[in-house]
Amino acid sequence: MKLINEYKANPKKLILPVLVAALLVLLGLSPNFTKPYATIMLGTIMMYIILSLSWNMFSGATGYVSLATAAFFGVGVYVSAFFGSSLSLPLLMLMGGIFSFVIAFLVGAVTLRLRGVYFTIFTLGIVKLLEQLMLYLEITFNKTRGRFVVSYTFTEVFYWLFILMILVILLSVFIKRTRFGLALKCIAEGEDAAMHIGIGSTMVKILAFAISSFAMGAAGAAMATRWTYIDPYIAFSTNLSFLPVLMVIFGGGRHVFGPLIGAVVFAYIQELLITDFPYVYMLAFGVIMIVSIIFMPNGIVGVIENIVGRIKKAKGGRKNADP
């Protein structure tokens, strides 16, 4: 996909965004006419959409594979656990976001000079460090492993997650059209060259990392109020680091729809399988991850684009052959 395509106005390309917008409106109104079960499930799906889109905002854009998603999500979870009784839900989310942003900024400032697998290992290390540190602190000072979080109704959590998701979607679309987004693209395509044409790559990366972490922290703060009980293993579950990566790989990271589709598909499969067949679910997870990386480098969206491209070509070919 060429950069140009994203900028050139093409009326046919409007169909999809309009369709998505309609779906989103429907989703936003859904708690009024669906069963609570659906509202809970849709809430979970939105959480995954937020996580995978925000992961894609940094890692997908720059090629720096971060596994720190669970760390920033967990920070948000603990913000709710500590301040849940004194702040309202939107304020908790804001605070979770800000905490994650600040931590990500600091972590990014010292680590983003690491490249490739080193960076990935480091981010996974951060998750495990926070998990173990929290566990140690809880057991040493609190004498228990977990704690209770003030709870909100799942409808309330639903609406706030919905708002956060809309913001993340808009930001994902918008960021690509800014110079900041162009700078990220340059970094992904060749960081050395990017630095030498005047891009302050370190600062750009740190900022993108911190912005994406903001959404992760806010999502964590919201989800904690739905779970009522949390402990370090729940808050910093490494699955929350891996799932967004898989969702983006499966859906395709170059287009906003990719992570969106990936998140919906996997959240749904998870909902179907995880209670009765947890191992089969995780097994499928692994298999799909491997198959996607090898056979669908641009994800489902890439496959669809290819098919559409081929159909167009075939049509064009026929026109040429038949003057």
Binding site: G63, V65, V110, T111, L114, G116, V117, Y118, T120, I121, F122, L124, G125, I126, K128, L129, Q132, L133, L135, Y136, I139, T140, T238, F242, V245, L246, I249, Y279, V280, M282, L283, F285, G286, V287, I288, M289, I290, I293, I294, P297
Partner: protein, 290 residues
């Protein structure tokens, strides 16, 4: 006092030896095949469960460990020849391959772990083996621990000597140091990479088998060993085999000492080590260029 010292020393050597074995495998897989094999720990788990299953069918533990060797090699070799080879065909550059192969190994981690969960369940498993103890310098030490200690140290040094002396070992080192020069010397890179992946799996399997002789095992044990191996490899320098050998023993002793002071802190200590290390000297103790 002396008993404590001997306890710490022997535990340190056992842990260090096991860590060295698994880390050398991981380090070689990265150095030669350019795969940061995050599923390494799952192969340790697989080796442990293979060995456990054999022991349950009345095969002697040491024989079980030896039987793991060919099985693990075939698994590793075939995996490389199929998945990773295909992946290297579709990856545009080394950097892209490194990133993709790491993600694929994450996928593999879920596959192996959940296949094991389906086969063996999630409970702790174990068997008793040589529980008698002997006295060394007046302090009792269990025979099975002593045996594992001897095996761990022996395997890690034997592997090191294999790399230094044998023809295959030299080819492996040539590829890890300079792939293009190695090609000129007639070393077939992808074949060597596949063999290395198989040998890495053997080392993981042996480590897993050794662990069954002294500890309980469960199907989710892999991840922690993966992380330990990665810490050791970063400590010793990515791709450096002597670095992993040394790093394994260093981390084994650090782990034992921290464990002795406060067991709940040992994982925190590990993660702190890796994080500080990556920040201060990402190329590791014995690594050259970063």
């Amino acid at each position: 006092m002396l008993t404590t010292l001997i306890n710490v020393l022997s535990s340190g050597l056992i842990m260090g030896g096991v860590y060295a074995i698994i880390s050398m495998g991981l380090s070689m897989q990265y150095g030669v095949a350019r795969i940061l094999n995050v599923s390494h720990g799952e192969f340790i788990m697989l080796g442990a469960f293979l060995c456990f299953t054999l022991v349950r069918s009345h095969v002697h533990p040491i024989l079980s460990m030896l039987l793991c060797v060919p099985v693990m090699f075939v698994i590793g070799f075939v995996l490389h020849r199929t998945i990773y080879k295909k992946l290297s065909d579709v990856s545009g550059s080394t950097a892209a391959f490194e990133s993709n192969s790491m993600l694929v190994s994450f996928g593999l981690m879920f596959v192996v772990q959940n296949v094991a969960l389906l086969l063996w369940g999630s409970e702790q498993k174990g068997y008793t083996f040589l529980m008698r103890s002997v006295k060394i310098l007046g302090s009792p030490i269990a025979l099975n621990r002593l045996l594992v200690l001897v095996f761990a140290v022996a395997i890690s040094f034997a592997f090191y000597i294999f790399l230094e002396r044998s023809r295959l070992g030299k080819a492996i080192r040539a590829v890890s140091q300079d792939p293009s020069a190695a090609r000129l010397l007639g070393v077939r890179r992808t074949r060597v990479a596949a063999i290395c992946f198989g040998i890495g799996a053997i080392l993981a399997g042996c480590a897993g088998a050794l662990i069954t002789m002294i500890n309980q095992i469960n199907t989710s044990m892999g991840m922690n060993y993966t992380i330990i191996a990665i810490i050791v490899v970063v400590l010793g320098g990515m791709g450096s085999i002597p670095g992993s050998l040394l790093g394994g023993f260093i981390l084994g002793f650090i782990g034992t000492v921290v464990n002795y002071i406060d067991p709940s802190l040992s994982l925190v200590a590990y993660y702190l080590i890796i994080i500080v290390l990556l920040l201060v000297k990402p190329s590791g103790l014995m690594g050259g260029k970063s």
